[in-house]
Amino acid sequence: MKPDENLKVALYQNLVKARELEEQMTKLAGFHAGVGEEAVVVGAFFGLKDGEYCAPHYRGALTAAHMRGADLHRLIASVMGKATSYTRGRVRGDICLPFQFRTLGMFSGVLGNPMNIATGMALASKQRGDGTAVVTSFGEGTSNIGGFHEALNLAACLSLPIVYVCQNNGYAMSTRSDYSIKTGSVADRAVGYGIPGIEVDGNDVIAVFEAVQTALERARAGQGPTLIDARTYRLSGHYTGDNNHYQPSEEREAWIARDPVARLRADLAASGIMDEARMDEIRSAAHAEVAAAIAAAQADPEADLSALGPDDLYCPDDAERASA
């Protein structure tokens, strides 16, 4: 699907809001921002149909959930564990998302689980036979976990409707991807599963979007999974407290020169879709929206002890089902 003008405008709107979110949130203690990686997140999760499920990588998760309909203020309140959090403060909202928007997060801090669970979400699609597909994303460091291998192989064997997007930002904490992945390419791993492995410029939101849409079409048509290796770069630290001093400055400069937001802006301006003034306006609006959401969340009350449990450890029986 070639993006038309409206779509490009929408991508820009999402991309700048994502940038604002990452930049403003990274000022909060302990946040794992993904400044520089927004094009992968927006490109991967923009085009899903309402009935479809997804499971985004923890870095960029808020953007993905917001694109699927979650409220920015409540998402941020969830990061802070406020009473207005989507779970009344029960789960950390930075990595765990409100599932009512068909968007899965991590219920623990263990990387790799979401890929396996997303694979089962795709299995449910297949069992229902309703032509829906699933998109999940993960870091390149996560692709070294055994669960990655098992998930992709299972999806390949059962021809499941799922798109695996690697948000390949060059680092896993301080570990360079060329240390933990000898070829440097996550796409190469698709060879072993007999599925397409596609490298894409992760700082080009349109390229990511197109690659994911093509893979989604394959998936929805029953042709099985695709692995997309979206190359990008983490300009922020691993988390707020990390000053990423380990990134060589020439490397950083090179990636800053390829900034995904600047790139889309240049494209939009050059093709006459929007002028600089209009784009600035959108950016200012996004800035204000995020700032307001953070301020509102900060003003919210702390989580209330009524949310504690433990009387609801288990999901109760479904009355008809149990007695049928």
Binding site: N113, M121, L154, D317, D318, A324
Partner: protein
Amino acid sequence: MTQMTFQEAVVAAIVEEMDRDPTVFNMGQDIGPIYMGAMHSAKGLSEKYGADRIIDTPISETAMTGAGIGAAICGMRPIVQIMFAEFLGMTITPLACEASAMWYKSDGQISVPLVIRVLCGAGPHRGHAEDYIGIVSSVPGIKVVMPSCPADAKGLMTAAIRDNNPVIFFEHMGIYHGPRQEVPGEAVAIPLGKADVKREGADVTIVATGMMVQRAQRAADKLAAEGTSVEIIDPRTIVPLDIETVLASVRKTRRLVVVTESWRTGDPLSDMVSRVAEELGAEGPLPIARVALQDTARPFALPLTRASMPDLKDIIDAVHKVTKVQK
């Protein structure tokens, strides 16, 4: 009523639920028409439901479990067969870190109606006896079921499939193809979390699980001849445990013997013993004895295997030990 082996009873329950609920499906290694599951644990299912609902998978227990969770949270009711309980370690990260917590942490947005079937226990196979029940019982939010007879196997499987939480269902190989016994002909769920008093008695309470329930029965017969009246409780659901039924019994007998085929180290029934001691120990003498698997890896040669497991004599000795104490 009809007559079934343990294995037949489990499969019968699955068939009943698959017939009435199109969202139930099975996934596992070699459960298809050729192999029909290890020890014929999926016999007949593939012929009846085909490869769409009886799905063969590569050897990848973590992905199978994760996929089961993913399908469950999207409206399906998967039954994942992890061939042997020995492989539960590979399921524990998705189960313990994600599935167990989803309902609570999502504040009720996500339920995980998933059943994990596993074979366990000393049986005809000369391996794979480990149940690793301690591993899966040590995280809140997962239900753990271990039936001791065909009727319970059927009713508990019915309940497990209908339950909205992750349930691990242990199928003991030592009683799997045992004698056929009466089971209800139609679907009757046995509620999870309800213990069963398998035998009423006055002098001592034996809590036993799985294959050990039969052994406890045999011991009780012998003890009855000596004049000791034994009450036997089978928790059936190990987590959550029906502590009330146990407490009621021990309140009456004030003597407790626990018989499991698990290691003491990490045996989930330790917590039960602890609760009994907390609730009733302050009131007066409360003799307690445990009979468990030898606290080493399970030895292989048959004489060693046997000697490492609780036998009739061990159970009777334990009862003697607690009845020695006068009330």
